[in-house]
Each structure stands twice: as C-alpha cells, then as structure tokens.
C-alpha cells in the first residue's frame, strides 16, 4: 500500500500543473475577449466564388 504515497503525489502534481496552466492562460490574455473567437472560428477561409445570391429578408 506504500504505492498510495506515489499515487497521491502524482495526482497532486498533475492537478497543480493544470492549475498553473490556467493561471498562465489568464495572464496571457486568453480570457480577455470571450466572444470574438467564438464567431471567428465559424468563418471559412475559402476564396469566395461568385455564389448564387442570398435571399434578403
């Protein structure tokens, strides 16, 4: 059962690593703008061809 020392230590190290990763992410400004990236990822990169006209509302 001595392995429990190892397991708990590893689990805590992993947890602390995630914690540090989060802090770094916040400090680098990844949470400064939480809206724009969600829209940006929906844009396609393709070259626009003359496409059929979209209906106006």
């Amino acid at each position: 059962m001595g392995v429990i020392y190892v397991l708990i230590t590893i689990s805590i190290i992993v947890a602390v690593m995630f914690f540090i990763a989060f802090v770094i992410a916040v400090k680098r400004g990844q949470y400064d703008d939480s809206y724009t990236p969600s829209v940006r990822m929906l844009f396609d990169d393709e070259v626009v061809e003359p496409s059929p006209k979209k209906n106006k509302s």
Binding site: F19, V23, V26, K27, G29, D32, D33, T36, K54
Partner: protein, 790 residues
Amino acid sequence: MKEQHCFHCGDTSKVYINFDKKQFCCNGCKTVYEILNQNNLSKYYTIESSPGKNPEKIKNNYSYLDNKSVIDSLLEFEDDSIQMVTLYIPHIHCSSCIWVLENLNKLNVNIVTSQVNFSKKSVRITYKKEFITLQEVVVLLCSIGYDPYISLDDSKKSTSKKDYSLLFKLVTAGFAFGNVMFLSFPEYFEIDEFWLNMYKPFFRQIMLIFSLPVVFYASQDYFLAAYKGLKHKIVNIDVPIALGILILFTRSVYEIITDTGQGFLDSLCGLVFFLLLGKFFQQKTYDFLSFERDYKSYFPIAITKLVDGEEVAEPVHKVKKGDRLLIRNEELLPVDAILIKGEGYIDYSFVTGEANPVRKKSGELLFAGGKQTKGAIEVEVSKSMSQSYLTQLWSNDVFSINKQEKLETITNAISKYFTLIILLISIITAIYWFVVDKNSVINSVSAVLIVACPCALALSAPFTLGNVLRLLGKQKMYFKNAMVVELLPKITTVVFDKTGTLTQREESDIIYKGTQLTEEELIGVKQTLRASNHPLSRILYDHLKIDAEKKTLINFKEIIGKGIQATINDINYKIGSAVFVGATAGNINETNVYISINETVKGKYVFKNQYRKGVISVFEKLAANYKLVVLSGDNDGERKYLEKMLPKQTALKFNQKPVDKLNYIKNLQEKNEQVLMVGDGLNDSGALAQSDVGIVIAENVNVFSPACDAIIDASKLKKIPELLAIGKQTKNIIITSFILSFLYNIVGLSFAVTGQLSPIIAAILMPLSSISVVVFVTVLSNSMIRKYLR
C-alpha cells in the same frame, strides 16, 4: 409584397439605386458594396443580412493623423517595419463586421493583420509603415463605413489590463477546496480501518499544505478589510470573517500537529471559496461601457493650427494661448478662443444644454466644447485647454470624491450587531464551560467562533446585488457596481435634466401656425431650405414630407442671423426671423421660423423640443414618493408647457449652467435630501458627480456618456420609477436572506455551545447554508425583476 430594404445598410428609402441586381438606398452604400465586391469580400453580406452602415460623407478630416506626435500617442507598438494601433469603432455590431474587419488585408496588402475585440468594439491593426500610413488605414476603414472614433482620451496610450487578482484568488481557493474535501473524505465516516489510520497523518499534512495559500493568499482581502475597519473603529462584516478564518486555521493546525483530530480545513477552504465566489459574482463589468469618461473622450486629439497661413495639424494639448486655429464645419472647439474670421454658429448643447446653436460675431469669445455647425471659422486661442471654462469644471472637488466611501452597506450595518452578539455568546459559553468542565473551554469557544463565521450572511448581499445587476444589464440598464443599487432605496429627490434627457436630441416637434400653404408653396419652401445649412433649416427640411425636385434657385441669399430668401418661378420666398420677413415677433423664448411668400407673411413654424415617450407617466408615478426637479440649461420658453404637463409640485429651473446644476444638488443634499440625478451630457457631469446616484440616459449606450453611476438606454427612461422600486425590493430581499442565514447560525451555535461541533457537521452546515441562501436570493430577485420589468 416584401418591404424593400437597402442591400447594404437595411434602411428603407423612397428611391433605390439598382446595381448588380441589388438595391441600395444611396450612392454611399453602393460604393461600399463595390469596394467589397471587387476585393472578393462580398461574403460580408451572406454572414448577416444588411450588416453595413450608411457611410456618411467623410465628415472628419483625418489630416491630423500625419502629425508625428499624434501618431505616436495613438500607436501601441512600433518597430522598423510595422506599426500597431487599436482603434475604437462604434459601429461594430455583428459577425459580418468581425469578418470584414479581420479581412482588411484583402483590401490592402500592406495591412498585415487585424483582430477584432467584439465586446470592446475595437480592432487592432498591424500594418507595414513604409507602405501605408495610419491616416490611410483610417480612411480605408471610413470608406467601408467603419469610422473609428478617435478622441483625446485615446492619446493616453494606456492599455489597461484587466485585473485578474480576484479570479486567481477564487481559483486558488476552489482548487484547494476540492482537493481538501477529497482528502478528508475518509475521515467523515470515521472508519477505524488499519490502512486508513496509517495514512491519516499523511493526508492531514497534505491538507495543511493546500490550505496555506488559501489562508495567506486567497483570504488576504478579508484580513486587510478587517484591519482597515478596526483602525477606523468600524466593525464591518470582514471582522467576524477574518476572525473565523484565523480560528479555523489555528485550531486545525493545532489538532493536526498534536494529532488530536483532523481540523476544519475543509470548511475553511470552502468558506473562503464561497465568499470569493460571492465577490466575483457581484463584480459585473461591461467591456463596452465606460463610467469614468470626462471631457477628454469628447475632444478631438488634434486640431488644425494656422502658421503663417499654412494649415498644420497640432495635438490639442500643445495648443497655446495666442495660436490661430481653423475650426471646420462640425468640428469641436477644444479651447476657449476669440472668433477672428467667419460666422460662428456654435452648438453648445453638450456643454450647457441649450438646444439651439448660438450665433457669434468676430471678436466674441467662444467657449471650449462648442461645436461649429456652419462653415469654417478662424479663432485665436485665449486660454489653453487645461484652463478653459469647461475643463475647469473638472477641477471641482466632486470629481475626486469616491461616492462609495460614504456608504455604509446593509451588510456592514448588520454585522456591527452580529459581531457583538457573537462575542457575547462566546463569552457566556466560556464562562459556562469554565464552571462545568475546564478542559473543553477552548474547544467550545473556538467552535462558536467557527460556526458564527457569517458565510451565508456575507453571501446574501453580493449574490442578490450581483444578480440584480446582471438582470438589469439584460434590460439595457447598466450599473457601475452593486453599491449603486444599495443607494437607490435612500433616494428622496429625483432631478431631471431637460435637453437630451426628457427631450430627444435630434427630432423636434414642429407645429405650423398661420395660413395653410399650398402644395406648390410648400415645395418652394422646401427647395429654399435645401440650400441652407442652418440647423433649423435642416430640421424643417426633414420635417416637410413632400417631394421636391431640385430646381435652380434664383437670387438665393442667406443673411446670417436673419434668414434665407430665394426666388423660384418668379415667386419670392423668405424664411427666417420675424424681423426678416416683416412679421410681428411673438414670444421671444419660443423658437420660431417665419415664412413669407411674395412679401406677405404666411405663418410660422414653432419648434418644440420633443419629449420622450412616457415622460409624463414617469413624473406622475414618482410624484407620490419623491420630490421632483427639472434643471435645464435651456431658456424658459417651455415653462408653461412643462407646468401644464408635469405634476404641480415639480420644481422647474431654467438657464442653469453646469456649475449651477452642481450647486443646486449640493444645496439639496445640505437639506438632507438624497438626490438621484438623471442627465445626459457633459453639461450634467458636475451634477451627476455631486448627486448620490447619477444616471445617464443614452440614445446609444456605446457612444457618449459622461462619468456616472449608471447608464440607461433612452428607451428605458420610462422605467425609472420601477428602477427605484427595484432598489427598495432588493433591500427587502437582502434583509429576508439575512434572517435565513441567522437561522443557520443559530442551528450551528446550538451545536457549538454544547461542545458537539464535529468537523463533519461543520463541513455539511457551511456549504448547505451558503448554497441555500444563494438559491433563495437568486429565485427571489429573478421573480422581482420579472414583475417590474415585464
């Protein structure tokens, strides 16, 4: 049939321009479409329909953007080949905007990247400085309808970063809370199992390590606040909290070191986590709003200076006394100056609240903040910006006072008594156990202080207020912080500004009095008006809903300060003041435009400021409980109308300068009135700062608003009585939830005084009380807002 809309901006128009099988309301919109289409950016129109903005004719001259020191003050970053700038663009409103602005490099290859921050409505552009200048970038943005708004405020170059310290503290506490809970789980069941008993000390030591950052980092705000409070001899809510944390920690450390128990580290971490969560929830910020604006946000960053007849762009803060400046049409005068050349038609509505432009002759003094509305003028600076009449208002003390420091929050008011009672109970407990069993004195007294730690109490107010702020924000009522909501129930007097607040800024109610004009005459009048740039002419021109083809005017003359005249088809039209057309002048305080045709006076147009919808009902609702005042910078031409319209007891004050408004409110406060000021412009900023709660009414919440406590969309003006009622109800909800959390404390105390508080009871009671209080206040405040605002 479907209604027709402009393909670009979505506006309706009488006449459409057909181009590329699409309809456009004007040439401007068509041009933007052409630019985007040529550059393969027509996808702009498929992401959202009609995303564009009608590009106004380039009204701003960006020539100042080639001045080195102006550019330097705007740039965020610069190296040998590139420059980076962040521009604020109020028009950003949809995903098409993001798309087109992030594809600027397709419009001009010299733009390296552009990145939009949607919530701040800004775009950060990096461009090659050898091939394109900042001015060209800005003009490019304007050409596709995205005019950046550049003001003196931008020149500070401060890229203020968000303060994340509270988030870090919250995350630290949450992280520790989870892990400590996890590690103390075996102990909750008190299993006397061999293996578990063997690891107990190991688990406990890890828990202790986890709780160290919670006590020494995450909860430092509470210790600081408690210390500050005690220094000022105030027992605020932080005192019992800090005491609780301290006792929890020392007792846990003692138990773990002496191996007598597991301590209360799980409750400790949970407590700090929930408290910080409450704080975090209360801190609602709106990226796109600024509650701290002063005159700098309105002023241009640079101005055209005349040096030996040459036009030179000069940063505003470098303008000195004696400089010659050129102020173009629609430009704002940033300094006090003397008019030298040209006709001044200065619109002071922003500074004084006067609705109509003032005519100035050469040699007269012009005050900073006025906007020239007709043609270009030349002025000589009489005072530099920092000494001008307008900016001096900002040196008034009220702008440096922090309103919140005066406020005693409900929580702190109650915690005074709360702390006293707790201390009393622990003393009684100590005496009792001293008599009965000396060994358990420390045990039970520390238990009392642990249980009494007012977690649920401290959470009630932040969660209620935070929730109310959020819900009001959804209704386009944006509050600076939770304190403002707490101040609302104390209000006794409501003061309104007139121009821009009760009235709409642009539209005026126009009534025609006199002989009915024939259609031909109306067309003639409209054609005559078309040629004039006078603001009243423009309003009247828009008001006359009649199609007038463009015809050549013969003998058109504009006589400044009097009126205009023209001849069409041998009919002589004269439009202007009473003297000009030869009519007898009526009430001089009314704004009248007289019409005469072939030298016979036909009648006059009377301009009334148009009042916003619901103004009367707002006053009627408020009249029962509040004293009402209308403070106006305008003349008293509408006194009679207002007296008739508003409840009898409403006090009306006219011709109030910004300082008069400030002093008026100060006077009210000296009579122990708590004042709510509702205003809109710079002219109210002194009054807004002086009042207990200053609310700004904004047509467009994204653009201008002076420093204040809350910004409300203009359409919500009618909800002000409800807003005050919400303030009162919120207070009631907080008090009810206090009672609930007291009940929890009593239950906990009954365990503590009898010496039965085990770690597991503390670990259950603490989160249970906190969560149930949070749920309670959230449900109540949600239903309250629904009741008032729907």
